[in-house]
């Protein structure tokens, strides 16, 4: 302890000033200076400001605290890219106030959820996530479809953000529910850059027909995988729901390779592809399960 009167530990004002300067150095270097550099304000060409309905959805996303469980940023790491798609670019977030990258993945990342599923999937999934994944811990959101979007409020928010909108877009809000808004928001996420499939399967890459034709073990595995990942859309007994009835599909006796490629590549906006998520053995097993439905 200093007995010297001039010591900083005996001079409160001086101490406070030096402490303030000390904490400001790092702040200036890592926060204030970058703020004025180009690198912090990029924008990809395909990025558009949110429409009124999308913004209303984004606001619901914030109000419900979705960010607690879902991230919106894909890291340049192999497993992230395989699971969620191309890694996120800084320029995709130029209109995000605030950013919603999150810090926890209790649920999956949503950075590229746009176009992954059809609207109907979201409608049913928000109503009851457990209808798709019985063991899911996501809360159901049945009130989304009941609650109307507040038109005046939403337009005031658009104005605050200086996002452009036309009369028609404003009119479109009339009668829209929070569910409509959430779906609009979900479907635009990650769509500002062209989607490129990491793995695109074609006939040259796979066997000409199922290598596990009629194999009981493969059918059992296929059934298990089907129940876990496919039954939400195609129905518990493959009777069809959002997706086609696979019982009917099997009746046509499709080529094994066609079924395989459909599962592997999916359909943009209708069905996600599984090429990066399932090994060849698993996909063939599902093919065999579908064949067995006939």
């Amino acid at each position: 302890m200093s007995k010297n009167d001039n010591s900083i530990y005996n001079r409160a004002l001086l101490f406070s000033i030096v402490a303030a300067v000390t904490v400001l150095i790092g702040t200036i270097a890592t926060v204030f200076v970058p703020m004025f550099t180009e690198g912090m304000h990029p924008k990809v060409d395909g990025l558009k400001p949110y429409t009124a309905l999308e913004l209303a959805g984004r606001d619901v996303y914030q109000a419900e605290g979705c960010v607690n469980c879902h991230s919106q940023v894909i890291r340049p790491l192999k497993a992230d890219v395989l699971r969620y798609g191309q890694y996120s670019k800084a320029g995709e977030y130029a209109y995000d106030r605030p950013f919603l990258w999150g810090s926890k993945r209790t649920g999956p990342d949503l950075a590229r959820i746009g176009g992954k599923y059809p609207d109907e999937w979201h409608i049913q999934h928000f109503e009851s996530p457990q209808a798709f994944y019985p063991k899911s811990n996501m809360p159901p959101y049945p009130w989304f479809k009941e609650k109307q979007v507040n038109v005046k409020e939403t337009l005031a928010r658009m104005d605050a953000l200086s996002f452009p909108y036309t009369e028609e877009e404003a009119a479109e809000l009339e009668g829209a529910t929070e569910l409509d808004a959430m779906i609009a928001y979900m479907q635009v996420l990650g769509t500002s850059i062209a989607k490129e499939a990491l793995i695109e399967i074609d006939e040259s890459m796979i066997e000409a027909e199922s290598p596990v034709k009629g194999d009981a073990d493969a059918i059992a595995l296929g059934k298990k995988l089907y129940k876990a990942e496919c039954s939400g859309c195609h129905g518990q007994i493959a009777e069809g729901n959002i997706g086609a009835s696979l019982v009917d599909y099997a009746e046509f006796e499709p080529l094994d390779t066609d079924t395989y490629i459909t599962i592997a590549n999916g359909f943009e906006g209708a069905m996600p592809g599984y090429a990066a998520k399932f090994s060849k053995e698993k996909i063939w097993a599902i093919v065999e399960y579908i064949n067995s439905l006939k």
Partner: protein
């Protein structure tokens, strides 16, 4: 009225070890500064060309 006792500031700090810096701790302190300088050098794109995107490219070469 109940009387208050002062906190005696002298009683808070030891005189005999007032200026001691434990050696092990000092080594840790300096060691971390040295490592920090090295780390900043090694992982700043402007110094060594390292970048997280490039790191991914390297890894993805192993995926067909």
């Amino acid at each position: 009225m109940i009387q208050e006792e002062y906190d005696n500031i002298e009683a808070f700090q030891r005189e005999d070890t007032e200026h001691v810096l434990p050696l092990g701790w000092l080594i840790l302190f300096i060691g971390l500064i040295v490592f920090g300088i090295y780390y900043i050098y090694a992982y700043t794109p402007a110094f060594t060309g390292w970048s997280q995107e490039q790191q991914l490219e390297e890894v993805m070469k192993t995926v067909k």
